[in-house]
């Protein structure tokens, strides 16, 4: 008689993760608020909000509803010009999230492409691209931002250009080193010895192995772009009235932080929460794209 003690550990784990209800996954709890915030901001004009640029000098610097003197007419309070802060926050989020996404893409697309080309071609092309990355990284971000903005003026387009210019080397550097190490991995040699062509290995084996990195870098890139944009706005070099962004609201609340802390607090909280959520999503996505982490 033979007794089988074999419990198939990995199968059990796989089964468990498959049976897990969708609403119990971390991805859901991270992406749901992200999507909610984004949709609210995108469809701001459809919401019953007052115009964020509507000045009402009879009710300036009102506190939020839960404080003495606050009311539900302006649930988050008003600015020193009587603008509704909730409305400002939602309309401002629209710009900030847009710049975060597009700014990330502006840096990610050329960065990833150059990184790939450098990593796979090696030789002179790699040397040139690698030196370019070093050169770009050696320029202080603020200097680049000031130079571009001083010569081209403030506008969303200029901010996006600054973002693309300053963030592409981060993408390029990581993707280049990843591509360099992937092409030397033993499984590439093993596939070549099995008669698989170089192109096929690149497309079917190396790119999928890079995909996780790209997704993670991109999500982290959104967070970074939002932070950079807010910093530019805060310095008064980015979005300015009548334009709105979380960074510009933060800047306008700065002078009254002693008396009306909430003006600066709301955009500050939104920036932190949004960036945190995006970064958490990035972390969570790593495990989705690498089967080695999938069962943890």
């Amino acid at each position: 008689m033979t007794i089988s003690f074999e419990t198939n550990n990995s199968d059990l784990l796989l089964a468990k993760s498959k049976n897990k209800k969708w609403y119990k996954t971390a991805i859901f709890w991270i992406s749901a608020p992200l999507i909610l915030i984004t949709l609210t901001c995108v469809f701001a004009s459809l919401l019953p909000l007052s115009d964020p640029n509507n000045l009402d000098l009879s009710s300036t610097v009102l506190p939020p509803f839960f404080m003495h003197g606050g009311s539900m007419t302006h649930p988050l309070g008003t600015s020193n010009l009587g603008q509704d802060l909730l409305s400002e926050l939602i309309f401002g989020g629209r710009t900030t999230i847009f710049i975060g996404l597009v700014g990330m893409l502006g840096g990610a697309l050329p960065g990833i492409l150059l990184g790939l080309v450098a990593g796979f071609s090696r030789g002179i092309v790699d040397t040139v691209i690698a030196r370019l990355i070093d050169a770009q990284l050696s320029l202080p971000f603020i200097l680049v931002a000031l130079a571009v903005i001083a010569s081209r003026g403030h506008s969303v387009g200029v901010i996006l250009t600054v973002l693309a210019l300053t963030t592409w080397p981060f993408f390029a550097r990581v993707i280049r080193s990843e591509a360099l190490s992937l092409r030397e991995r033993p499984f590439v040699m093993s596939l070549r010895s099995a008669g698989v062509t170089r192109t096929r290995i690149l497309l079917k084996h190396i790119l999928p192995n890079l995909f996780g990195t790209v997704v993670v870098l991109s999500t982290l890139g959104i967070g970074a772009a939002i932070l950079i944009e807010s910093a530019i706005d805060f310095l008064g070099l980015g979005v300015t009235a009548p334009g709105l962004s979380w960074g510009s609201i933060l800047a306008s609340g700065q002078s009254q932080i002693g008396t009306a802390w909430w003006i600066a607090a709301w955009p500050g909280i939104m920036i932190s929460v949004f960036v945190l959520l995006v970064n958490l999503l990035g972390d969570e996505l790593i495990s989705r794209f690498d089967p080695r982490y999938r069962n943890r």
Partner: protein
């Protein structure tokens, strides 16, 4: 008739310090169904030799002389590189670290399937499943279904190496090159893998080139062994001849340095270390460390002596006294 014939294969490396000879004038023929072992210490050129055979040398290495023919057709020489026509189809390769020689993102199923699709397009989709099952069963894997549906990291080291071997032989190649494929495994798993490799060549159609630094393992598995030292072959012959009556002092020293049950006392190492291989080396590469060397060994290059079709050595003063008719050429 031999399956693979290596004639004077030489590989040079372009380094920052100039040309270096990585493989020097190797002669070897592998017959159908034969198991050849290549034994040598790290850096002796074993792996480079294997890679040269399948045309997968690193960019800075190139075949500078000699040739290698497969089924009487020259596939590798200083001018020819037709290895891509036989890679995967007629030659399969197994590497040292099976865990890393499988794509971590793909299930075993997909990886075997890919090699089949690339090299055996005539096999239909329906048959592929049967072929995969059969190959894993031949690899003595108990539950092929689970292994096929697993990612490499979900398998044990031994299972991974079996899968790697399965991928190498699923296209029924006539030669399998196993490059240190047992080195990363523990002794019991090693024994199992060696057993599998032996089973593999039992049909007499498949030949095996078994590269290892483990002399004992080679002697257990192989019909003939080639001992390599500092980019050269120093001795080739049937396992029993080479182990019992080595011609080359290096072989003798290598055998003496293998630990054994019945020999007590300290282990005999080989004094000194392997020489830096350059083009301008004169004399026998082993002369510095050899306990038999004479002034002549340092002065002139040593040529290859064939004692028969299947054996030979590279030494001026072979340990076995040879009569003149023993020596061919």
């Amino acid at each position: 008739m031999s399956l693979l014939e290596i004639k004077g294969l030489t590989v040079d490396a372009a380094t920052s310090t100039g040309q270096q000879r990585i493989i020097d004038d190797i002669h070897l023929s592998i017959g159908k169904g034969e198991i050849i072992g290549i034994v040598g210490e790290s850096g002796s050129g074993k792996t480079t030799l294997a890679r040269a055979l399948v045309g997968l040398l690193d960019k800075n290495l190139r075949v500078s002389a000699g040739e290698c023919s497969f089924d009487d057709e020259v596939i590798i020489s200083d001018k020819v590189d037709l290895a891509n026509t036989i890679r995967g189809k007629k030659i399969g390769m197994v590497f040292q670290d099976a865990g890393r020689s499988l794509n971590p993102l793909m299930k075993v199923k997909a990886q075997i399937k890919e090699v089949l699709r690339v090299n055996r397009p005539e096999i239909t989709k329906e048959d592929i499943k049967a072929v995969m099952h059969e190959i894993l069963q031949r690899m003595e894997i108990d539950d092929p279904d689970r292994v096929l549906n697993s990612f490499p990291h979900q398998l044990s080291g031994g299972q991974r190496q079996r899968v790697a071997i399965a991928i190498a032989i699923v296209t029924s190649p006539s030669l399998v090159i196993a490059d240190e494929c047992t080195t990363a495994l523990d002794v019991t798993t090693q024994a199992e893998v060696v057993h599998l490799l032996r089973e593999l060549v039992r049909d007499g159609k498949t030949s095996l080139l078994f590269i290892t630094h483990d002399l004992l393992l080679a002697s257990e598995l192989c019909d003939r062994v080639m001992v390599m030292y500092a980019s050269e072959a120093v001795e080739i012959g049937p396992v029993s001849d080479v182990l019992e009556m080595p011609n080359h002092p290096y072989t003798k020293a290598l055998i003496a340095s293998v630990p054994s049950w019945d020999v007590t006392g300290p282990l005999k190492g080989i004094p000194g270390s392997a020489p830096k291989i350059g083009l301008e080396n004169v004399g026998c590469n082993f002369a510095d460390r050899c306990s038999y060397s004479e002034p002549g060994c340092f002065a002139e290059n040593v040529s290859w002596t064939s004692t028969s079709q299947i054996s030979g050595f590279r030494c001026r003063i072979p340990l076995r006294k040879l009569s003149s008719d023993d020596i061919q050429n």
